[in-house]
Amino acid sequence: MSIMSKKTPKIADHNPGRKLFSSKFAAAVVWSITILWTIPTFGLFATSFRPKNDVFLTGWWQIFTHPHFTLSNYDAVLFGKGDAGNVGGVLPYFLNSLAITLPAVIFPVVIATMAAYCLAWIRFRGSDALFFGIFALQIVPIQMSLIPLLQLFTGGAHIGHFTLIPALGIAGKLAGIWLPHTMFALPLAIYLLHNFISSLPRDLMEAAYVDGANHFTVFRRIVLPLSIPAIAAFSIFQFLWVWNDLLVALTFSAGTQTISPINAKLASLVGQWGSHWEILTAGAFITIAVPLVVFFSLQRYFVRGLLAGSVK
C-alpha cells in the first residue's frame, strides 16, 4: 500500500466531459489551498528570525521588501538571554520532552506488541472477546482517568484497611508521566498491531512451532522482525502524540517545573509573553522542529500506520 505513489487511474483523457476538472485545473486548486495552508507556518518561521522592533512595528511579510534577520530571539528562548528580559530558557524543557517521550513511546509499543501477539497467536477461550473489550476501551476519554490516576500515584489504592497498591510516589516524577501515556496508548496500539500481526503467514508460524520454537523465540525471531513496519508506524504516531500532548503533561507534572515538557512551557509562555511575538514564534518553532523532522523523514511509515487503522 504505497500512499505517495503516483498511480493515478488514467480514465478520462479522451473524455470531453472531464475538461472542467482537467489535471491542470486540479493542480491549480490544490496548489492554491496548499499555499494558503502553508502561509501561517511560514509567517511564524519568518517572524522568529526578525528583530524585536521589526516584529512589533511591521508584519512579517515585510521580509520580502526589507529583509533583516537575527538569531537573537533563539538566543533568548534557548538560553534565557536577550533584551526581552529573562525568559528562563526552554532548553531544560526540551530535554524534559525527550526524557518523557522516549520511554512513553518504547514502553507501550513493546507491551502492546506482546499483547497483540498473544491475542492473535496464543489464542484461548475468550481471547476474541478480550480483543473487543480492549478496542472498546478507546471509549474512555483520557479526561476520565486523570483524577483517579493522580490519586493513585499520590495515595495508592486501598480496599478498607488492605493496601492493594501502595502509594507509588511518582506524582511529579518522570515515571508519573510515562505510566499514564503508556496506559492511554494501549487500546489503539493493541488494535493496530493486532491487525498486522494476525495477518502474518500462518505457515511460517506453524513451521516454527513444529521445529520446537517456543512462543518467546517465535516472538523475538519472527514476529518482531516482520512487524517492524507496523511498529515503526505506531511509534511515530505515539511519538507525535506524546511530544505534542498538553493535557497529560499539565496534569501529571502539575507544579513541578523540573519535568514539564516544552509544549507545556510553550503554553505558559503564551500567558507570560503574550505580546512578545519574537519570543513566542521562536519558542514555537523550537517546539515544532522535532516533530516536523520526524514527520518529514518518516511520513511514509506514519501514513501507513494511520491507514492500518481506518482503511481496509
Binding site: P9, T58, W60, C118, P187, N214, L292
Partner: protein
C-alpha cells in the same frame, strides 16, 4: 553557552530515562529467558500470561478502574468524600455558563468534523487528478505534526490585533485593513471567536482526512471509474454516483474519528483563550473545575458527560469492526 549547572540539574533526568529503558528491557529479557525454559503443559498458559498480563494490568489500573471511579466521583462533593447525589449534575443543568460550554462543544462536533472531512475529500479528489501530487500532499499534511499548542500560536499570530493607531502585524488584521475596514480584536468577538478557533482545528486535521481518503480513492478499481466514464458519468455525477459510494465507509470512519477528536478538544481553547470570552468547551471546563477550582465532583460530572457523548460513536465503530471480522 550552556553552563555546568545546566548539566548538573538536567543530567539526572537523562540518566533516569535511559536507566528506565534499560531496566525495562532487562526485566523483559529475564522473563522471556526463564519462562522460555519451562516445558510441558504449563508452557503455553505461562507464555500467554507473560505476553498479556502487563497490558491487561495497565489497562485495568489506567482506564477501567479510573473510569468507574470518575463515575462515582461525579456523585460526590468537591473533595471526593461525601456522596451528594445528583447535585453536580443539577449544577450542570442549572448553570447558564455551563450551558454555553455545552452549546460550544456541540458546535465543535457539528461543524469541525464535517468541514475537515469534506475538505479532506475534496483535496483527495483533486490530488488524484493532478500530476506530481506528493509535495502538496506533504505540505497539506504537515500541520498534523504540529501540536495544537504550536498551531494555536501560529494562528494567534494570524489573528493578532493592534489598536487602529498602530500598524497591524497580524495577517488577518492587515488583510482586513487592506480591504478597507477596521479590524476588530478578533479573539474577543463572540461568537466569531469560537469559529476562529475551529479554523485552527480544521487547519491541523484536514491533512489527516485527506491522506486517508486519498488512499481510499486510489483503492477504487480503475475499471469501475473507466466504465462509468464511458457510460457518460462526469464531474459531479461521477462523484455522487461512483466515487463517493466507493469511499463512503472510509468517509464515515474519518468523520467519526474527527467527532471524537473535536469532542475531547482541549489544547486549542486552553492556549488561545483559556476558555474565556465564551469559548470554553467541556474538556477545558473540566480541567478548570479540577485544577483551578479544585472541585473533583463537578469536574468528574463533566468527564462523565464527555463519556456519554463519545459512547454512541465508538459503539458504532465496534459494530463495524465486528461485522468486518465476521466477513473475514
Amino acid at each position: 553557552m550552556v553552563h555546568l549547572s545546566f548539566w548538573s540539574s538536567n543530567l539526572p533526568k537523562i540518566e533516569q530515562t535511559l536507566g528506565a529503558i534499560a531496566i525495562f528491557f532487562a526485566v523483559l529479557g529475564a522473563l522471556f529467558y526463564i519462562a522460555g525454559r519451562v516445558n510441558g503443559r504449563a508452557a503455553r498458559p505461562l507464555a500467554g500470561f507473560i505476553f498479556l498480563a502487563p497490558a491487561l494490568l495497565l489497562l485495568l489500573v489506567g482506564l477501567v478502574v479510573p473510569a468507574i471511579k470518575t463515575i462515582l466521583f461525579s456523585f460526590k462533593d468537591s473533595n471526593g468524600i461525601k456522596y451528594i447525589g445528583m447535585k453536580n449534575y443539577q449544577w450542570i443543568i442549572d448553570n447558564p455558563e455551563i450551558h454555553k460550554v455545552i452549546v460550544n462543544t456541540l458546535l465543535w462536533i457539528l461543524i469541525t468534523p464535517f468541514a475537515t472531512t469534506a475538505l479532506g475529500l475534496f483535496l483527495a479528489i483533486m490530488l488524484n487528478r493532478m500530476k506530481r501530487e506528493s509535495l502538496p500532499k506533504s505540505l497539506l499534511f504537515m500541520p498534523m505534526a504540529i501540536s495544537f499548542v504550536g498551531a494555536s500560536i501560529i494562528w494567534q499570530f494570524v489573528y493578532n490585533f493592534a489598536p487602529p493607531s498602530q500598524p497591524q502585524t497580524g495577517l488577518l488584521s492587515a488583510l482586513a485593513r487592506t480591504l478597507g475596514f477596521t479590524p476588530p480584536n478578533w479573539i474577543l468577538v463572540q461568537p466569531l471567536n469560537t469559529f476562529l478557533l475551529m479554523v485552527i482545528f480544521v487547519w491541523v486535521e484536514t491533512g489527516f482526512a485527506m491522506v486517508i481518503l486519498s488512499a481510499a480513492i486510489k483503492g477504487v478499481p480503475a475499471d469501475i471509474m473507466e466504465a462509468s466514464a464511458l457510460d457518460g458519468a462526469t464531474g459531479w455525477k461521477l462523484f455522487r454516483l461512483v466515487t463517493f459510494p466507493m469511499v463512503r465507509s472510509t468517509f464515515i470512519v474519518v468523520l467519526a474519528t474527527m467527532v471524537v477528536t473535536s469532542l475531547k478538544l482541549f489544547d486549542i481553547v486552553r492556549t488561545v483563550t483559556g476558555g474565556n470570552f465564551s469559548t470554553s468547551v467541556i474538556s477545558n471546563e473540566m480541567y478548570s473545575q479540577i485544577f483551578v477550582r479544585f472541585d473533583n465532583g463537578r469536574g468528574s460530572a463533566l468527564a462523565v458527560i464527555l463519556f456519554v457523548m463519545v459512547t454512541p460513536i465508538l459503539a458504532y465503530n465496534i459494530r463495524n469492526l465486528r461485522k468486518e471480522r465476521s466477513i473475514a
